[in-house]
Amino acid sequence: MGQHRFTSGRTGRIRAIAAREFKQTVLTKTFIFGALLLPIALVAVGAAIPLLVGGGTTPVVGTLVVADHDGSVAAQMRLSFDAMRAAGTRTAPAPAGTPLTMPLGEFDGAAMPDDPPVDITVVRVPLSADLQQEQARVQSGEILGLVEIPVELLQATPPAGVDISVLVPTASPAKTTAMLGRVAREATVTARVAAAGGDLAAVRALLSSPTAATARVSNQGQRSAERLEVRVILPAAFMFLMWIASFSSANHLLTSTIEEKSSKVIEVLLSATSPLELLAGKILGQSLVGLLMLGMYGIAGLAGLTLLAMTDLVDVFTILLFVAWFLLGYFMSAAMMAAVGSAVSDLREAQTLVSPVMLLMMLPLMLWLPISENPTGIIATVASFIPPIGPFVMVLRTTGAVEGIPSWQVAVALLINAAGAIGLVWLGARIFRIGILMQGKPPTPLELLRWARAR
């Protein structure tokens, strides 16, 4: 008897439990769809929308008929399209500092970043021409479009309610239509300035607004340039990513524990392993699930930053620190969820006990804006040292404070939150070892504390 026994011991059992927990979570349709396919689909749809809506990079080639009073607008449009053709396509990146929307009057004839390549021939007709016939040509797709410039728009003070008319075929891509409208608008302004005897270059110079170089000065007198994406968007992305990964994994832990209790398989497991080994294996397995999610979303995020030429925003140290914060945050959430899962018999019963845990886990989300506003302020600093929200707050601070966070605060927060994680896992384990074998009505929070104190 027992001659084949392989004494893998405690480590082997924990490893087996972790492996099952990991596989049973990530190989489910829910996970594959929710955590893997959904983000991929979202990215794919995001990439496809411009192609679908804007017609992609297909060059706009053909004839555009422009009906105007004296040919001045048609001439300006011809110049613009020639300039755009010469400047190339939208694949050329916009120069640094290019505003997202260019105010009217600042048009310089160059292509906007999203414009498709163009090869457009402008044919001018007088306003008295047979425009019905031109419209028929638009309908048949023979020409790209018909632009009609009312003469009133060339007056020094154009009346309100008079519009440029741009007619395009039904199948014309939205991006092409928008580009034609914009070029017509800008050509009209240019022609109007010229008709009024003004100098467009001088007007443009007068209207150009200077940029404001904002910088923050720390207590130590250190200056750091203000960047909206660093201050608000990047910390939010990191924190939400961490929150989603840790919350999902902790939630999987809760449901798998409840499933083991409700399906009565728990007694079989506990005849083979101790409650603490079971808990350790489950926490470990779900931490791998969280890291997998973090890795998947993280790689997608880094790919996005690479595409936007913003990889300077993150470095290896930030990523390593982020993983450390994730693990600390996850262990605390997991310990609480495991304790709750062990104490109840089904998900319905879990609601009462999960609510306070959820409230705690939601706190970092509520604190996101105030901490992003002032990552070195008193609220942010104090919250960093309070488990279990500390790791989430620290992610916001370390990725958002361009002025930097004192190293001692990072070190102390790491120590305090590590101690908090150990404490919560210990507390969770004490509750787990008793709760996992209990049946009947769910315990009150006071009873949970009694279990934690029990010998």
Binding site: R5, S8, K264, V268, L269, M438
Partner: protein, 316 residues
């Protein structure tokens, strides 16, 4: 060799309910012991203490010479409340339990296939547990309990809920394991099976051990000292004839058994009386009355104040 199981003064209380009162029990290696008792007697609580799932309030409990917590790989356990991972495939479930019990991965799938054949579950290895009937799931759980060749096998109500065919398969498997030298400790309240299977029975009621004896001793001890007669003549006439015979204390017709129950005087010889009755009363059947384990169970439990108890709450 140390006993497989040593229980000394073990007790457990849940609130105001004494689930198990101070109890002693020793099971030698290779024994097959039946733990009997009515519902709520404390059987499952005792078994959970043996398995270290709950801690006794008092007393000492040694399993295979040590603490059950350190012996998990050498003990097989089938709990009363069966459970499987419903969405897991049978083979994967058993593989997982085998790994937890310390079995190496190499050869484990072959071992699982062998056991599934042995309990007459061929072709289910790749089915999900939820696709199996309750009886089939119970057999899978039985395999999970014995897959790692444990020295001590603890089975809590292993045959409950099984149809006679499946029950017979598991009874045979238990017999085989016992023959191979395993110590088996099983709880049941199916007396016929206990009588057929166990060498020794331990009866507990209201947390107290009220009987600990071999099956033969228990039956002899509670033998009614009587003779059953199935007459071919009028039962009343037969009863009158029997009552006049020396050594007969009473004779009573039992219509439900279609026989006359003859009680023997203290000191009378049952075998001589049997021969005398055969000569005096025309009968289809005359035999020394036998007691069943069922009778012993009912008599002992009723003599111990019945079995009504507040159900145990809180502990699984």
């Amino acid at each position: 060799m140390t006993p497989a199981l040593e229980i000394r003064g073990v007790s457990k209380r849940f609130g105001s309910l004494e689930a198990v009162r101070p109890l002693d029990l020793v099971a030698q290696r290779g024994a097959l012991i039946g733990l009997l008792g009515p519902n709520g007697a404390g059987k499952s609580t005792l078994i959970r203490m043996i398995m270290s799932l709950i801690r006794p309030d008092t007393g000492e409990l040694r399993v295979l010479g040590g603490d059950a917590l350190d012996m998990k790989d050498r003990i097989g356990y089938l709990p009363e409340e069966r459970g499987v991972y419903r969405r897991m495939r049978v083979e994967d479930f058993l593989f997982y339990i085998g790994r937890l019990k310390g079995l190496p991965p190499s050869g484990l799938r072959a071992r699982i296939a062998g056991w599934l054949e042995r309990v007459e579950l061929p072709g289910v290895a790749h089915k999900r547990c939820q696709e199996l009937s309750k009886g089939m799931q119970q057999k899978v759980q039985f395999v999970a309990a014995v897959l790692h060749d444990p020295e001590l096998i603890v089975l809590d109500e292993p045959f409950s809920g099984l149809d006679p065919v499946n029950a017979r398969v598991l009874i045979q498997a238990v017999r085989d394991l016992h023959r191979e030298g395993r110590t088996i400790f099983l709880s049941t309240h199916q007396m016929t099976q206990a009588e057929q299977l166990c060498q020794r029975i331990v009866l507990i009621n209201r947390g107290d051990k009220i009987l600990d004896a071999t099956v033969g001793d228990a039956l002899t001890r509670f033998s009614p000292r009587g003779i059953d007669v199935e007459p071919v003549i009028d039962p009343e006439q037969a009863c009158s004839a029997l009552r006049q015979m020396p050594g007969v204390a009473s004779a009573q017709w039992r219509s439900e058994a279609s026989s006359i129950q003859v009680a023997i005087d203290e000191g009378a010889d049952a075998v001589s009386l049997l021969a005398a009755i055969a000569q005096s009363v025309p009968a289809r059947r005359i035999e020394v009355a036998r007691v069943s384990l069922d009778d012993v169970f009912v008599r002992l439990v009723e003599g111990h104040g019945g079995h009504a108890r507040v159900p145990v709450r809180g502990a699984a």
